[in-house]
Every structure is written in C-alpha cells, then in structure tokens.
C-alpha cells in the first residue's frame, strides 16, 4: 500500500461528502484535508499560474495549496482551505482552476512556457492600443482567478455583536489556556478565541499538555469562542473576531446566522497565536506528498491519518524528529532523516539509534507521477542520494505568528537563532506568549544549497520561485515592497504565511545582507480571509441603510402611492389612480391644489423648538436674514449659510411667543442642521440662555394648500384660519394642532402639526374634508411642479452647495449688519464675479424640457449653465424650469438651447425671471 490513508480500520467514518463528485466518508471531527488523505486522495488542487499538481501541505490555516470550492448555490465558497473546513454530512467539495479535470488539466501547458512567464513578464509585452490589451486581458483574466464565484445571493444572515473584556486571549493552545486561566483567576472579564473547532493547539498533535480544560475555564466565567478567528487588531484594543457558526457551505439551523463578527474592545490582549512551520526551498518542493513536518504529526495523532507510508524527513531543527517518532508509532517507515545541520544534536544522536539520520543533508529535488510522490533526491555532504518515498515531511523552522501584534503597531525584533521576527515593543496593551513570542525550536543556519531555483517554490500558491526573486532583484525591484509587488509574492489568499521568511532569506542572500536589513512587508488584516457577508453583518443582503417610516406611513400605504426615496425616508411621490401614469397623477394632484385644495405629508421637515431669553440671538447667528424683529404669532422665510458663505439650508422661522420659536428646515439637511445649531450654540455662543430641541418626529406635518384651504380648515377647526405667515393653535379631530400659514405651492396654505403618534385622525379629517371639496392628497411630484412654478429653490438642486444668496437672488434678504455664520466669506471677490451662475427661469413652448440639461447658445457652443429643476405648467401649456446661468440675471429674454446629448433632446428656451405664477403673491390674500 502506498500513499496516504487512515490508520487502522475506519469504522467511525460515518459522514458522507463528495469531492469532485466522488462519494467519500469522513469521521466526525475530520477536516476536509484529513478526510481526503484518509481516503487516499493526495492530488487536491492546481496552482494559480503554472497549474502544477498540488496536494495538502499543512494542517492549519496557513495551507497554501489545497484550496477547494465548498458548498452549492448561494452558499458556494470558493478558495476554501481544505485544512480549515470540517466535514459535515452532505458536504460538496470541488477542486478548482482546472479543466477538464483535476488529474488532466490542460492549463498545465503553462508550465512549458514557464521560462517566458517569469516574474513581471506582462509588464514587458502586450503593447499597442488599449483595445489590443483588452483582448489579451480577457484571456489572462480567464486563466487567472482560482475558484468560480457564486452567482446567487447568500441565503444566510450574518450577525454583528459587540463584546467588552479585560483580557482577550487569542489562541487556545496551552499558552493561551494558561493565560486565560490566569486572567480569570484574577476576576477579569476574559474572552478566549480559537480558530480551530477544538481547544488544544499544539497539544492536539501531541506536543505539550493542556494546562486546564474547556469546562474549567467556562466555570471560571471565561467566554470561549471556538471556530473564531481574531482577524484584525485595530486602534485602542479594538479587535474583530470572525466566528463561523456553521462550516463553509453548510446551512445554519432555521433563523440562525451563519457567521458572527464580534467587535471586541479589550483592555489587554494576550496573543497566543503560535508559530507557523516553514517549508524548505528545493526543486519540486510543491509536489503532492511534500508536507510540513508538524502537519504530518497532526494528521497522525489528531486524525488517525498517515499521510504517507515511506517517509523522508527534511529538517533544520530538532522538532521534526518528533515526526519521525509519530510516523514510526503509526506504522509508517522512516526512510531517512535529512538534517541540514552539520553536527548531530543530542536529539539527532538519540534518533540515530532508531532511524537513518544524515547530517549536512538537503533535499534538492523530487520525482512523482499522477499526483503521488515517488522519490526524493538529496545532497548529503558531497554525495547525491535518492530515496524512494511517498511522503516528505519538511521543517524549515518556525515563524511566530506576529500578525496581530504587528497590525496593532507593535515593533518586531530579529532572532537569529530561529531566523524569524518576534514581537518587540507593543504599541498597545498587548503581550505575546508561547510560540508567538518565539518559544520555538532553534534552527541550523548553514547556507542552503539551491541548485534549481526555477523549480524551487517560495510562494506556492502564486507560483513564485526563488528564480523570480533573483530576477526582481536583478531588475532593480529591490525594496521588499517592490519585490512583493513585482513577483506577487505573499499576495495570495494565504498572504505569505508560509512564504514570507523564505522569500526574505532569498532576498537577503542575493542582496548580501542580513534578513532584518532586507526589510519586511506590512502585516495587514484580516489574519485569514473574511467573508464580505460577515463584514456587512445585518447590513448585508441589501440592507445597507435603515428605512425610516413616516408616522402616517400606513395611511399612505393604503392609497398605494408611488414611493420616492429621500435619504432613509420613503415618501409618497404621487397617488395614481388605477391605470394612471405618474406624470398624469402628479398633474392632476397639482391642478387640484391650484383649483381647489390638496393635502401633503410634510412630516419629514426638520423642526426645532428654540426657546429661552436668548433664542432670537441664537437664531440671528444661524439665519442670514432678519429674525429678531418678527412679531409674536408671525413667521418668515429664512436661510442659513455655511462658514464659506454658501447657502446651507432654508426654511421658515416662527415666533410662538416672546421667548419660544420654531425653526423649520429641509428634510435632507435635518441632521446637519441639528449639528449646526448645536455648533453655533455650544461652540460659538455658549453664553446664550437658549434651548434647542429637535422636534422633527415629534410633529407630523400635513400641508393643506389651495384656494379652498381656508374654508376647509375653518370647517374643521371652527375658527378663522391665520393670515398668510401667521400661526394659530386649534383642534382637529380632537387633537391639538399647531397651524402655520406658510405656502410652498404658491396657493394659500397651512402646515398643520400634530404629535406624530396621534396624527392619524388629523390626516383622516383633512383627507375627508379636502376630498369633499374636490381636492385630493398630493405627492412630491406635484409639489415639485407647484414650487418650480412659484420659483422656490430647493436645497440640493438650485442651492447646490456652490451658490451664494446673491446667486439665488436672495441677497436683498441678508442682514446688512452681518453677525451670522458665513457673513465674513461673502466679500470674497470671486463671489461677486459677473459670470457667476445665477438663478433664472426658463420657459419653452414644448411640453417639457430635460432636467439637468446644459444651457448653450447653440449646439456645440460652450456650456453657460444648466437646468436645475424642470416641470410643465400646472394650468397653462409648455415647459418651465429653474436654472443656473452664467450672469443670468442680466440675460432675461435670451434664447438658449437646453441640451441633453445623453437623452437626445435639445429644447429651445427663453430666459425669464425665476417666477412663473402669481408674481405679486395675490393668492396668499384671503
């Protein structure tokens, strides 16, 4: 018998799964890698560039080779490490990056072209126009990539959860368990995370003992999270933990999330993340059957799987001798131990009693066929040897997992005895223990003999060889960052976990410097790849933003309106009758307002109660218009500027009594205005005795507009309605309401405010009364028609953040004395340049003109402005619009083209005043 297989009889292999359609069995607790080996499967994958056959090299998350696709449909997870997925009943796994099959992959022809496809070859060829590159690129893209992506939406949810602790211990091996135990005894809040399914770390492969148990720690109050990876350490002890609640591709129980991303804030972090064994660099070191030494032990002792029967061990340290013991104990044959060190260590000497141990021995090449290793060539002292073997267990030393320490800003120190970086000074309250702190076997450092650099792989997944590193150096890509980017070294899905140190060693040797001088690339989050769905958490699946519900939502919904998104809100855009188009509905609604009456939900307007003896003083700092002289019971249009003099927002300000005011402003600017009021009050004028309370949602608002509005309101309230820009309190449907006689539509109108929680009956009463008079509810589209006709500007359209009050024709409303935010900016010369974009009206005989179109004198002429908002006349014929036009106020009567090349429309327009309806405001009078 040859190749990998289960040790002893496999009666407990009860889980069924498939690999490339082949039905196989696994034991509960098997990783896919263990199960494949148990079933004698050695060839698992094809490499990225040369499509070389690859097997399983590691037993943990550092695996560079054995990437497979797991799961089906929307749960498909490509590029899953076979060593980092536990088999579950019915699991479907597939190999990837091969065609037509894993065993016979036509892509392997790339290997023949390897002499040309050296590092960075694509920078030197494929010239010509971009269109030609696009042709090459298409082929390259198809050949690149690894697994096929899913095409369906993810059916599962992913959760985000916060946690806080005194001590976060990362790593559930002996060192981590001891740290957690210590911390818990001190009464601290402790979280222990382990990326594996089981605690134990190296103890699971028989190295060391567990100092305490899962149960004991839980009893001490430790929160233990297994199958959870600390993916990143950020500022101030913030750590993201990715918890897999089910395996890749596995369906979670109904209603349960598949993954959970923890946001942990830790006072102190203990990193017990262990060390990663390094491969040895030699020709053919990537072949199936070449495996890390500790991985071999893991498969034997944890999974009862012997990855090969005839085993050669290549090492530069004593640790690998334990693998020889394990192999022998499991019934395998240790063919030879190739120790690169010239002298026998104590351990080697002891091993010599049982095994064939060679010193000064280096593997130089491998031979294999059909995905099986057959023999290993080695240089021993000055002689060439060949060993028949189906497994090479290699150990090139150990690299402490310093990723999280380094991500957190910690320094790294060089340790020559282990040829690796270890954690130095921490930038945060972080300590490393155990293997992560450098407690690993020292290694021999005699020069590595490398006769075939072109076939000696350093970064297995990206097919970067020692020769590629040499070439990059030769071409001047000498900074380690240039080297990495030029060769793609360390940029594969394993992020160089097994390759970084070997690459640095090679770089240092060509540069003739020590490794620390060669430099080190940055460690970046995540430690292991992290699903976007888990990152997105409850925001995934299309919910990247909450929906805010109007207090009157159900009233509108009953009328089946067309909804319009506005920030997080959805508001009715129009209420079409059956078969009616949006535009027809909007025109019908707008005409109702012009001829009888309409009601519209204006609840989302920002509202602020500004109260106190200094309320007027605050308002005059915020508002650029006169406010303080407003009489009690009166209101006024106002606008606010930013520090740079641009119009920030507009609204109305009302004096409810001597010291109580109500300020309204735009929906979209509500949060910004809340912050601005707070800024002006608390930062610029904290001495003012004034209270600002946001009442945006306290009041639902319903505007009643139209010539019949006063009659309707009087009928409902039993009292005379307030005059235009006056206010009153009244009752409608037994609800106390505040009535502000403001108009946005150009008709006599009232904004009626009632507490949101009890506004329903008010809407119902207004709706009934309005409909009884031939009116109707209207939506934002009709409102837009009405306000454009009346020339009211909208924040975001006309006031686009680049317009001053002068640009909008509001200059005359500015308070001469200044003293408001933005006043100091208005004197800048460019703000009074004659060619500034200024607000104008535009009209056309055509039915409409394209909103957003450019204004030009004739086709092809320079752009002079644009259409900001367009509509059709509500009662008359033809299209009207507001626009911003260079020097516009001086150009009344000019004839221009509203040009929209993207929509194929060019409409002749005439420049007018930005006011198309009732210029004298006569309709506001009763």
């Amino acid at each position: 018998m040859n190749g990998p297989g289960r040790i002893g009889r496999d009666e407990t292999a009860t889980l069924r799964f498939t690999f490339d359609g082949r039905s196989l069995c696994a034991r509960p607790g098997d990783t896919l890698a263990a199960a494949l080996l148990a079933n004698g499967v050695g060839l698992v994958a094809r490499s990225f560039k040369y499509h070389r056959p690859r097997g399983i090299m590691a037993a943990g998350v550092e695996e560079p080779n054995a990437l497979v696709t797991v799961g089906e449909g929307g749960r498909t997870e490509p590029n899953t490490r076979a060593t980092d997925v536990f088999v579950y009943e019915g699991m479907v796994a597939r190999s990837q990056n091969r065609w037509p099959s894993l065993a016979f992959d036509l892509g392997a022809v790339n290997a023949l072209a390897a002499p040309v496809l050296a590092a960075g070859f694509y920078y030197k060829t494929f010239f010509g126009p971009p269109a030609r590159w696009m042709v090459y690129e298409k082929l390259i893209r198809r050949a690149a990539g690894l697994g096929k992506p899913p095409t369906l939406a993810d059916p599962d949810r992913h959760q985000h959860r916060a946690a806080f602790c005194d001590v976060l211990v990362v790593g559930g091996g002996p060192a981590g368990l001891a740290a957690a135990d210590d911390a818990a005894r001190g009464g601290a809040r402790v979280i222990l995370v382990e990326q594996d399914r089981a605690l134990g770390g190296c103890a699971l492969r028989g190295d060391g003992e567990m100092p305490t148990s899962d149960a004991a720690l839980r009893a001490a109050g430790v929160r233990i999270l297994t199958r959870t990876t600390a993916s990143g350490v950020w500022d101030h002890g913030f750590v993201t933990l990715a918890e897999r609640l089910v395996e890749p591709g596995e369906a979670p129980p109904p209603g349960q999330p598949a993954q959970r991303l923890w946001h942990v804030r830790a006072e102190r972090i203990v990193l017990a993340t262990g060390a990663i064994e390094r491969p040895v660099t030699f020709a053919g070191n990537d072949r199936p059957g070449v495996m890390l030494s500790q991985a071999v032990r893991t498969y034997i002792r944890r999974f009862d799987v012997l990855p090969g029967r005839r085993v050669v061990i290549a090492t530069n340290n004593d640790d690998a001798y334990r693998t020889a013991e394990a192999v022998a104990a499991a019934g395998g044959e240790v063919v030879a131990i190739l120790d690169s060190r010239p002298d026998f260590t104590e351990v080697a000497r002891a091993a010599k009693e049982r095994f064939r141990v060679h010193t000064n021995a280096f593997p130089h090449s491998t031979k294999g066929r059909s995905g099986r290793l057959r023999s290993i060539g080695a240089d021993i002292w000055t002689e060439r040897h060949s060993f028949d073997a189906d497994l090479l267990a290699m150990s090139g030393g150990f690299t402490p997992v310093v990723h999280l320490h380094s991500q957190a800003g910690g320094k790294l120190d060089w340790r020559a005895d282990i040829q690796a970086f270890v954690p130095g000074a921490s930038a945060q309250a972080i300590t490393s223990v155990g293997g992560a702190a450098g407690e690993v076997a020292p290694i021999g450092t005699n020069a590595v003999h490398l006769p075939h650099p072109k076939h000696s792989f350093v970064d297995f997944q990206n097919d970067v060889t020692a020769a590629d590193i040499d070439l990059a150096w030769q071409e001047g890509y000498r900074s380690v960052e240039h080297l990495k980017r030029y060769t793609t070294l360390g940029m594969a899905t394993d992020q160089g976990k097994t390759s970084n140190m070997a690459a640095l060693a090679r770089l240092a040797s060509v540069a003739g410097v020590d490794i620390p001088q060669a430099g080190l690339t940055t460690f970046r989050a995540p430690f292991t790849p992290l699903a976007l769905g888990a990152l997105a958490g409850p925001d995934g699946g299309g919910h990247a933003a909450p929906r805010r519900r109007l207090a009157l939502h159900d009233r509108h919904a009953a009328l089946a309106p067309v909804w319009q998104p506005l920030g997080y809100w959805d508001r009715p855009r129009a209420y079409p009758a059956a078969g009616e188009s949006l535009n027809d509905a909007a025109i019908r609604e707008a005409r109702a307002v012009r001829t009888s009456a309409g009601i519209i939900d204006v609840s989302t307007l920002a509202k602020f109660a500004v109260s106190g003896p200094d309320a007027a003083a605050l308002l005059e700092m915020v508002c650029a218009t006169g406010v303080a002289k407003l009489g009690v019971g009166r209101g006024r249009y106002t606008f606010m500027l930013r520090d740079d003099g641009m119009v920030m927002d507009d609204g109305t300000v009302w004096r409810l009594d001597e010291t109580r005011w109500l300020l309204t402003s735009s929906t979209g600017g509500a949060d910004r205005m809340e912050a601005h009021l707070s800024y002006v009050h608390r930062v610029l004028a904290p001495h003012l005795r004034v209270s600002v309370v946001a009442q945006q949602e306290h009041f639902a608002g319903i505007a009643l507009a139209g010539p019949l509005a006063p009659t309707i309101l009087a009928g409902l309230t039993g009292q005379a309605p307030p005059a235009h820009m006056g206010l009153a309190e009244a009752s409608i449907a037994a609800v106390r309401v505040l009535i502000l006689a403001a108009s946005y539509s150009g008709e006599r109108a009232f904004e009626i405010y009632a507490p949101g929680a009890i506004a329903g009956p008010v809407w119902d009463a207004l709706d009934r009364a309005t409909c009884a008079q031939g009116g109707c509810p209207y939506g934002l589209e009709a409102l837009e028609f009405l306000r454009i006709e009346k020339g009211h500007v909208v924040i975001g359209a006309e006031a686009d953040g680049r317009t001053t009050p002068h640009d909008l024709g509001l200059g005359r409303m500015l308070r001469k004395a200044g003293g408001y935010v933005g006043a100091q900016a208005l004197g800048r010369p460019a703000l009074s340049a004659p060619d500034r974009l200024q607000l104008v009206g535009l009209e056309t005989a055509e039915a409409s003109l394209p909103e957003g179109a450019m204004l030009v004198a004739r086709a092809g002429a320079p752009v002079e402005g644009h259409v900001t908002s367009a509509a059709q006349r509500v009662l008359g014929q033809g299209g009207i619009a507001l626009g911003l036009l260079a020097g516009g106020r001086a150009r009344l009567g000019d004839r221009l083209i509203a040009a929209s090349p993207t929509r194929g429309r060019h409409v002749a327009v005439t420049v007018t005043q930005p006011l198309f309806y009732d210029p004298e405001g006569e309709r506001y009078r009763d």
């Binding site: 959760q159 804030r265 519900r549 306290h698």
Partner: protein
C-alpha cells in the same frame, strides 16, 4: 447565548418633554415626582409630565419642548436584554456597572437610541418612531419575530428582514 431570554414590546413613548436647564439647578430638584431621564449633561426627559405644570417648577431657569410624539419606547423584558443589546451595538450593556437607573445614549444598527436600565431583568430603549421597525426587525431576527410586539399605533408596514 442568552439573548433569546428576552421579549420586546414597542409602543409610543407618550408625553415626553425635553427640558434644558441653564442655571446650575438639576431637574430632579425642581421637578418633584416627575419621572425623568438625564439624557445629556444639561438635558432631561420628563416622562408623563404635563407642560402646564412646568412653568411654575422651572420658571426662567430653563426651557422645554415636547418630543413624545415622535418617540418610541421599547421595553425589553427578561434576563437576556443585555445580551440582545450587544447585537449590532457599540455600547457595553453587559457591564455590570450599567445598573438600574443608568441611562446611556448610543447607536444600534444605525439607529440612535437611549437605553434606560429599569432593573436587572428589564430596560427601556427609546428611539425615534421612524426607526422602530428597523429595531424591531433586527431584534426579531435574533430572538424570533414572535417575541417582538409593536403597538398598533406604530407604522407597521413591511418590517424589514433586518
């Protein structure tokens, strides 16, 4: 996980008044038996207070405005409330020091909230009414829809699948 040991009921917060004081006085000293929450250093929410009563209590020491019309109170009942608040949260509701009577303002799943601890097995979470369906959706997904009830006065249409 214990966050299933909790149920939620959401209803309009009723008459709530925001009170700002600019004198050195503190609201509890002025407002007698009115239940209140300190939500900012100089702002209190008066629960079930009547504006008419305030003039005499407060005088010129501050000003107030009603906010209850747009406020929803979610009452979380059961020992799992702390755990539930950690889902999509930022604030350490599991801190034992966050005890009865404590009030904290924070954000849960994009929704600005104020959390008031009522007792070891109960807390109130206040949010703007427009966001109530979002929170209800989130919580429903964690503890089961059947454990989250929304009062009929709240907009109920299509609770998201958050």
């Amino acid at each position: 996980m214990t966050d299933r040991d909790v149920s939620v009921s959401m209803e309009p917060a009723g008459e709530v008044i925001a009170l700002d004081l600019w004198s050195g006085a503190d609201a509890p000293d002025l407002c007698g038996k009115i239940a209140l929450l300190r939500v900012e250093p100089r702002r209190w929410w008066l629960l079930d207070a009547r504006e008419a009563d305030l003039t005499a209590m407060i005088g010129a020491r501050g000003a107030w405005a009603p906010i209850g019309g747009g406020l929803v109170r979610a009452t979380l009942t059961g020992p799992g409330w702390r755990s539930l608040l950690m889902v999509a949260g930022l604030f350490d509701a599991e801190d034992p020091a966050f005890g009865t009577g404590a009030v904290a303002a924070t954000v849960i799943h994009h929704v600005p909230v104020r959390i008031a601890v009522v007792g070891e097995t109960s807390c109130d979470v206040y949010c703007a009414a427009s966001y109530a369906p979002t929170l209800a959706g989130l919580w429903g997904s964690v503890i089961g829809r059947e454990r989250v009830s929304l009062s009929r006065e709240l907009p109920s249409a299509t609770i998201g699948s958050e």
